[in-house]
Symmetry: D2
Subunit: 372 residues, 4 copies
C-alpha cells in the first residue's frame, strides 16, 4: 500500500509514470452489468489533453485507452476492469539535465529523500500524467452515477485574477472554452491574461469548482469517513492543489451562526433547505442539497525564468528549465477534480447500502439469485 | 467499516456518543515499549474541556481517562491500547424537544436520512464529545513523535474578525489564554468580541492553524496517500471544519510561479528551502520544512435565536434551542486538530519504514530478536 | 493495524489481555435498527465459560458484558457498538514464574522476539481470554444472520480418539453436554477419556465443525476474498487451530473428479446439488448448499508434566507449569468458531449488496430517506 | 474491493480473465531499489505452463510477461510495478456450449448467482489463468525474500495415492519432474498413475507442501493477523484448494500435549526448538523454525465423462465437457502456492518493522534522507 489505491468498494489502483511504457488503472468492485466501451472513457481522457490554443503546452499527447479486462459482450462482469494508455510522445532528451538537480516546486527532492533515487524523466510518478488512471476510472464512476440520476460537473472558477461571473454561468461552455470556464467572457479575459503570463515565461495559479446534483440525503459516514473528509482527501491528492473548501469554505470563519445555518423547509412534501452554505453536507453526510467543492491550485512550478536551487550533491546552482509546459494547470485539472469527486461519491453510495437492517432484510428476502 | 477507524499502521477506532455510558478509543498498532500512563493522556483531554471563562459553555465536563489494556509495567506492549472516559454530566432533559425536529446546521436530518432514526440526545455520535477518542489517541501519537524529535502545535488563528498578530506570536500563551491564541492581546480582543456575540445569543466561526516541526524529508506517499491529502481528510473530518489549507493555501490561486516556488539552498551542508510557500510538502511528501495547515471552522450551529426548520413529519416550525453551548468552537477544537495531525504524521512515518530495500535489508540483517 | 481488526463492513476491533482490567470489542458498521441487549451477547459468552465438570479448568470466570455505546432505546443506531467485560478472577501469583522462561507450545518466546518483552501474566494478548471480544461481536452477527434466515452452528466432532457418530447427531445436545458434542454417547466416552488424560496431567487435541444453513447462493468474492479463504483465515486465527477444511477437506486429495463433483439438480424449481462434497462453496462463492467447515485443534500446551525449555537468558531448564487449565480446548472453542464463522459470512453478505448494477439502481430509485 | 487485492504494505491487485485480451497484476508498495527484469518473473511463470508430458493439457500457453511501470534503469522505484501477459491461445469455440449450463465442480452457477450473468469463456475470472498475476507478483516477493536470506519452496507431496518418500527428498527434482515432486521415483509412479486416470477420462486430487527457511522469529501479528491465519487465507484462495494445514496440521487433533509441544533448546547461543510440530509458528508469530504448510487440492472438475447438471433455465441435462484439461491440478499449482506464501511472509515482515519503539527511534535517528 504505497498510495496508488483509492476507495473501499469501488476501489481503483493506478500505475504508470510519465515516461514509462504505459499508464493505467485497475477498477475492482465495479458492479456487474454496466454497459461500457472505450469511448465512454476516451471522452473523459480527451478533456485532459493539451489543447491547440496558446494556453497549453505544445506537447502532443494522444492518449488512447484500451479496455483489457472486466467487460464481456459490452457489459462489466464484476471482474476487475483494467484500462491502459500506452505512452507515445516522450522526448526524454528534454528532461536530461533535471536528473542531477532539484527543480523548485517539484517533487524531485522529496522523491529522492524517500526512495534514495528517482525516475527523473518528466517527474516519473509525480507527473501530471499520473492522473490518466484517475480520469479513466472516474469516467466509469460517472457513468454509474448518471444511471442513479446524479451529475458531477467541475469547471474553472478563476485563473489568476480573472474570475467567472456567476450571472454569466453557462455549463455548456465548460467543454468548449480553452480555460474550461463556464463563462465565455471570463474565458476570453483569462486567455489574454495567460498570453501575457506565457510571454513573461512565468505561470499562474487558479481555482476550480465542482458541483454534484441529484445526490440523495444520507450518503457518507460519521466521524472519519465523512463525505467531506473523503472529498478533501480526494481533491487534495491531485498534484498542485493546496486548499479545499466545502460549501462556503473559508468564509465561514468570519461568519455568525445566524447567517450560516441553512433553514430546513418543506418543498412540496420534500424536505429541502432554504440556503446551502453547508455545500450539501451536514455532519459528514449528504443533506440532499447540491454538493459544492472548491480547490485552489498552485501555479505550474515549471517556469522558464532562472531559478535558484541545489543539485544532488547539495551544491547551489542556477537552473533554467526547458521543455513544454502549461502556464496554468487548472483547465486540464478540472476533469481530474470531476473524476475524483465521482469516485468518492459513488464509493460512499455503495458503502451506504448496508447502513440499515431493514434494507438488508429486504435485499435478501426472497432472493432468487439466478432469476432477478 | 462505518467511519470510526483512522490510520493504517497506527490505527485507531473511536466509539461512544454524547449521552451514552462512556466514550473511548482503541489504538491498534502502537509500537511496544512506550512509557505511557493516564496523565500523558489526561493533559490533552483537559485542553478540550470547557473553561471557566465567559467564552465557553457552563456545562461541566470532567473527562477522566482510564487505560483498560495494552500497558504493562508502565510500557505499551504492542497489544491494543484501550482508553475509556465515562460520561458523568449528561442532562438529557435539555435535549428532549430536539428529538422531534431537525436543528439547522446540525446532523439531525442527515442521520435520520441515513439510519432511519437517530440518538437525539445531544447529537449522539455527531456531538463534539466524539472527539474525546481522537484526543486520547492523539496524545499517544504526540508522545511518540516527541521521542522522534517532532513537535506538533495547534492554536487559534482568528475568531470572527479578530486575528492574531504574527509579530506577537507567543507559543506559551496557547495553553493559558481562554481562546488558545498565541497572542495575549488578540486573545483579549477576541474575548471581548465573544462576550458581545454571547449577549446577542449568536455564535461565530474562526480559524485554527497547526505547525509540525522536526519532520524529516521523505514522509508521505505519492498519488492518493499524499501527506497533505491525508492531513486534509484528518482535519476535514473534525466536525464544523469547512476548509483546509496547506502552506499558503487559497492564496496560491492568485500567485505566479516565480513567486510561489521555494528555492532550495544549502544550509551548512543541509538542504533547506529559502521560503516555505509549500507548507513543507512537495508532491505529497514532506520536504524537511515546517508543515503548516490551516482549518476554517463554522460558527456553532446551536444558537439561541429563533430559527426556521421542519419537524420529523416535514411540518415547518420555529425552533428555539436551549442548553449550554460554546459561542465559538475553535478554542476547544485546537487540540483536536493537533491530535489529528499527530496521528496522520506518525502513521505516515511508520508506513515509510519499508520504502527502501536497503533499509529493509539493514533492518533484518543480524536481527537477534530477543537481545536487541 | 497490528492484527486486532477483522472484517470490511461489519468490522470488529478487539482489545484486552488475560490479566488486564478488562477485555472488549468495538463493532463498527453494524446496521442500524437491530434490537440488541446485553442478554443477546451474554448467552454466547456463557458458552465459553469453564464448566463445572471435570473436563474444564476449576478457574471461575464470571464474564459479564456491558454495552457501552451504539444502542439507543433498544436498537443499534449505526454508531460503533462498544462491548466490555471486566476481569475479576485473576490470580497473577500463579503465573509469576513463567515471566522468566518460555513455555513450550505457548507464544511466550515469539512475543518476546517480536516486541522485545511481553506481558507475562497468563499469556497476555495470546491468552484464550482474547476470544471474549470475538464471541461478543459474533453474537451480534449471529443475531443479524438469524433475521436473514441463516443459522450457524458449531460443535465438537472429536476429542482425541473419541468421535461423534453422525447417526446419533442431536443438535440440542451441543448446548448441554460438557464436551459440546451433538451426541450424548460420544460425550460420555469423551468425558471418561478426559478424566484419564487429566489424571496423567496431560492434555489432548480435538476437532470441531461448523455448519451454516440457509445461506443463499452468490455470497463471497472471487480470487483473494473467496468465502472459503476468509473462513480459513477466520478459523485459523483462533489460537491452537492448526488445520482448516472446507467440505470434504483433506480427503479430496485422494479422490477422482468423477467422485468429487456435485451434480446440479432441479429440486421443485430450485437449483440444488445432489451431493455436497464442496461444502457449499464453488469458486469461492456460496452455492446454496450447507457450508461445512472443520478445524483441528492442538492439545492445550499447558500440561503439568516436567518439560524442557530455556529461560530468557537462553539457559536450558526444566519447567513445571502450575495453575488451572483445561485438558482440552475444543469444548470452549466451539462457540468461538461459530462466532468467527458468523462474522465472516455476515461481512460477505454486506459486501455482496453492491455486486450488481441493477440492485444498486433499485436500491436508490425512489429513495425517500426519511420515510422508509 | 471485490476480491482482487492482497496484502497490506506489499499490496497486489490482479486482473484479467481466461479469454480476455490480457492478464496482469499491479504491485504497490514494492520497496525501491530492487534490481528487477522480466526474466526474474518469467522463470516463475514458466513453472505454471502446461508441460509437454502426458500429464498436462496439450493446450499451448506461451505467457510472456511485460514490465509496464515501476522499474527505472533496472531498479524498482517505489512506484507501482505493473506486469502484463497478453493472451494468445484462446480457442473460444471449445467453450461455446458451456455458456448455457452449469458445469459440476465449477464456479459457473455461483458467478451467475452473484452477478446475474457471467463471462462463460473458459471460466473467465474463475479460471486457473487468474493465477498468472499471483505468480508474477510472487516472483518479485521471492526475490526480495532471497535478499533477506529467506527461501520459499513448494512441491507436490502426493497425487492421488502416490506420495513422496521423505527419505528420497531431492529439492532439485522439483523443477525437473513433470509432477513437481522432489522424489524422482514417486514422480515416475505418479506419471504412470496419471496416464491411467487420463485413459479413463477422469481426474484426481493431490497434496502440495511449502517450506519457508531462514525466517527470523517475531514475524506475524497476534489475534486476527496471525501469520498462519494469513497463510491459510492466501493458500485457500487458490482455486481447488479445500484444506490447509500448518505444521503437523490435522494430526494434532489426535495428539497429547506431551507429544505435541516443541521443547526450546539453546543451540550454540541461539534459541531453537528440538522439534517442529508447530510448523514454525506459535501464537500466530514465527518462532524461528521452518514454516511448513500443506494444501489439499481437489481433482480437476473438468472431466470427460458424462455428468448430470442443469442448464440456465433449470432444466436437468447430461453434459459432456470437451477441451483440453489437466488430469491433476497440483503440479502447476505448486508455484502458485510458493508465490502466495512468499507474498504473505514478505508483507508480514514489512508490517513488523514498526512493532517496537526502539526500532522506530533508531530508524529515524540521524536520518539523512538523501545520503544513505
Amino acid at each position: 500500500m504505497a498510495g496508488s489505491t483509492f476507495g473501499t468498494i469501488f476501489q481503483i489502483t493506478t500505475w504508470g509514470e510519465s515516461h514509462g511504457k504505459a499508464l493505467g488503472v485497475v477498477i475492482d468492485g465495479c458492479p456487474a452489468g454496466l454497459p461500457l466501451c472505450e469511448s465512454d472513457i476516451q471522452q473523459y481522457l480527451d478533456r485532459r489533453k493539451p489543447g491547440s490554443s496558446s494556453i497549453s503546452t505544445p506537447r502532443k499527447e494522444d492518449d488512447t485507452v484500451e479496455i483489457l479486462s472486466g467487460v464481456f459482450e459490452g457489459l462489466t462482469t464484476g471482474a476487475p476492469v483494467s484500462l491502459m494508455v500506452r505512452n507515445t510522445s516522450q522526448r526524454s532528451a528534454d528532461y536530461g539535465e533535471i536528473a542531477a538537480c532539484y527543480r523548485p516546486g517539484h517533487a524531485d527532492y522529496t522523491f529522492d529523500a524517500k526512495y534514495g533515487f528517482r525516475d527523473y524523466r518528466g517527474g516519473g510518478r509525480s507527473s501530471g500524467r499520473e492522473t490518466i488512471g484517475r480520469v479513466a476510472a472516474g469516467a466509469v464512476a460517472a457513468k454509474i452515477l448518471k444511471q442513479l440520476g446524479i451529475s458531477v460537473c467541475a469547471y474553472t472558477r478563476s485563473i489568476g485574477p480573472v474570475e467567472i461571473d456567476p450571472a454569466h454561468f453557462d455549463r455548456s461552455a465548460i467543454l468548449t472554452t480553452p480555460t474550461a470556464m463556464p463563462d465565455t467572457e471570463a474565458d476570453k479575459a483569462a486567455v489574454a491574461y495567460l498570453e501575457e503570463i506565457r510571454k513573461n515565461t512565468d505561470s499562474v495559479g487558479g481555482c476550480m469548482e465542482c458541483m454534484v446534483e441529484g445526490l440523495p440525503a444520507g450518503i457518507g459516514d460519521p466521524v472519519f469517513e465523512k463525505l467531506d473528509a473523503n472529498l478533501a482527501k480526494a481533491i487534495m491528492s491531485i498534484g498542485a492543489v493546496k486548499a479545499v473548501e466545502i460549501g462556503d469554505g473559508c468564509t465561514v470563519s468570519l461568519r455568525k451562526g445566524s447567517q450560516n445555518n441553512d433553514p430546513f423547509r418543506n418543498n412540496g412534501g420534500q424536505i429541502t433547505k432554504a440556503a446551502n452554505h453547508a455545500g450539501g453536507i451536514l455532519g459528514g453526510i449528504s443533506d440532499g442539497g447540491t454538493l459544492r467543492i472548491r480547490a485552489h491550485v498552485k501555479p505550474t512550478p515549471s517556469i522558464f525564468l532562472t531559478q535558484q536551487t541545489v543539485n544532488k550533491d547539495g551544491k547551489e546552482i542556477d537552473i533554467n528549465i526547458k521543455g513544454r509546459h502549461d502556464p496554468v494547470i487548472v483547465p486540464r485539472a478540472v476533469v481530474v477534480m470531476e473524476c475524483m469527486t465521482a469516485l468518492t461519491v459513488l464509493d460512499a453510495m455503495l458503502l451506504n447500502m448496508s447502513a440499515r437492517l431493514n434494507h438488508l432484510v429486504e435485499f435478501y428476502a426472497g432472493d432468487d439469485p439466478c432469476q432477478n
